[in-house]
Point group: C2
């Protein structure tokens, strides 16, 4: 049972769209990830997903609106809702979601990541 | 589906040891709470509990050690582990835990809070 310093862990992340597992509890995982650029449209049929912005800001696009998320803000995307994160500049994000969650949800693309690294 | 600004929500919290529900996903809740002083020793038999420090610092006491948690750090307390948060100065904390989690776990005390407010 060790504490996690989020900034220290973020300093270890050099790539984008590749979540790392920083903690696990109750079948859920805490992931740290850096976004830059456009992700793919996708949804998670069985998992709600929380995005908490640690630094920077990004746009969470939905089919009918866009939510701008800034540092210190979070958004919970309900299961079944198509979304696409777009980050004009690099942003650091904490994710909270079930351990079963795939980063690209119902889509398999070149951005799909499996066997996520633990940091 | 609205975003949550954590600082704005924290500004609404005036009391200590009284978690407010800021979000809910996958049967888990995101709670915001301010600690000051000594809490009660307790454990959660069926729930792991995550403490993420938003401002300030506090001591998480265990029977065999103390972990000092500073801003930007988190700790996951495994189910069944007795713990007691002690905050010499006020600290703001984000909690992730199952919706079923009682703030005082297996103990009922004057600090037990039920029917938590949503903010």
């Amino acid at each position: 049972m060790d504490k996690i310093n989020v900034s220290e862990k973020l300093s270890l992340i050099a790539d984008h769209w590749n979540p790392k597992i920083a903690g696990e509890l109750n079948g859920q995982q805490v992931k740290l990830v850096k976004f830059k650029g456009e992700f793919v449209w996708h949804k998670h049929d069985d998992e709600d997903e929380m995005f908490y912005v640690l630094s920077g800001s990004f746009n969470m696009e939905f089919r009918d609106k866009t939510v701008v998320l800034n540092k210190g803000e979070f958004l919970i995307v309900p299961r079944g809702t198509e979304h696409r994160p777009v980050a004009p500049e690099e942003v650091s994000v904490m994710l909270f979601e079930p351990a079963s969650t795939s980063n690209t949800g119902n889509v398999v693309s070149e951005l799909t990541r499996t066997n996520l690294e633990r940091i």
